[in-house]
């Protein structure tokens, strides 16, 4: 990734356009090498009650200090709960970034866009760098932008489904009409999906399940890193036009005709 092609989120510069999560790994010991292989610079986590019966190390032990923490408001069912979680997360000393997730649908885990907007308005006014996770909707994306979101995160397909960018047509509209970074989140199941998102012009992608649930998460993290870089470079290089008819790649021979 060229150093002059930076991703700017909430005033902070990133050279990596791959955000990763910490969920679903078979062992937390995989998180540190995954971070190294993916070269991610921002990582998500959740907030929960301390489990005093657990002997496991704190998740922060596995994350290098120079990685930007992106707590999520998972568990929130309303804007009010998301706001409460965000304030608690900031009190934990993780900085001002917050990924808003407001979900009441327990089958498909679809975010509630209306409650997400309410939470974004409040938290942005309190100085949070808000990254709202949303069901792709062009009108709502613009509302989130006006509410002060530092980026908008439309989902590709349901969390953990690995089905890729099923919402590509609407995501493309959002990308084309947005004045803030667009980070495709959820459902990215293969590096080719991540490359597709970047080729469409997405500013970044967030990948968790596809890495954590793969047979070799560290190798998969490396594959995603390459895919995101390839997709971004392809987008910047600008694509050759598509045609309905053929245009020969080799010149016609001039010596075979009798």
């Amino acid at each position: 990734m060229k150093n002059n092609d930076k991703l700017i989120l909430g005033g902070v510069e990133f050279t990596s356009r791959l955000l990763t999560g910490t969920g679903k790994f078979s062992s937390k010991e995989l998180i540190t090498p995954m971070i190294e292989a993916s070269e991610t610079q921002m990582i998500t986590m959740a907030l929960r009650r301390v489990d005093s019966s657990s002997k496991e190390k704190n998740i922060l032990s596995y994350i290098p200090k120079d990685i930007v923490l992106l707590p999520n408001t998972s568990g929130a069912r309303t804007a009010e709960e998301a706001i409460k979680i965000a304030r608690i997360a900031r009190a934990a000393g993780c900085g001002d970034f917050i990924k808003i997730e407001v979900i009441t649908d327990m089958k498909y885990l679809m975010p509630d866009n209306e409650e997400t907007l309410k939470a974004t308005e409040v938290l942005a006014s309190e100085g949070f760098k808000v990254l709202p996770y949303m069901v792709p909707d062009l009108v709502m994306a613009k509302k989130l932008e006006r509410a002060g979101a530092a980026a908008v995160m439309p989902l590709g397909s349901p969390i953990g489904s690995n089905k890729g960018i099923q919402t590509r047509d609407i995501v493309k509209l959002i990308i084309e009409n947005s004045n803030v970074p667009i980070i495709v989140d959820a459902g990215i199941g293969k590096p080719s999906h991540a490359a597709e998102a970047m080729e469409m012009g997405a500013d970044a992608v967030l990948v968790n399940s596809a890495i954590a649930c793969s047979v070799d998460p560290v190798m998969m993290a490396r594959a995603f890193k390459k895919a995101v870089e390839a997709g971004r470079e392809a987008y910047l290089a600008q694509f050759a036009l598509e045609h309905d008819i053929a245009y020969a790649s080799s010149p016609f021979t001039g010596f075979l005709e009798a």
């Binding site: 999560g21 009650r49 301390v50 704190n58 923490l69 304030r87 997360a89 009190a91």
Partner: protein
Amino acid sequence: MEIKLNGKDKIYNKDLTISCIIKLEATPRDGLVVMVNEDIIPREDWDNHSISTDDEVEMLCFVSGG
């Protein structure tokens, strides 16, 4: 002193500060947030903030998530 800690009833022999409870429960302080009766207690106040009977204490920390 009887309080609720993370939703469960807890009995301690005497009044304690937040720092004392953290130590007794062997809770790592990194990334820890403590709330007492819905109020977030700043880290710098943990040594001095005393917990009283019937207080509801929540100890929260970061965990894996996407």
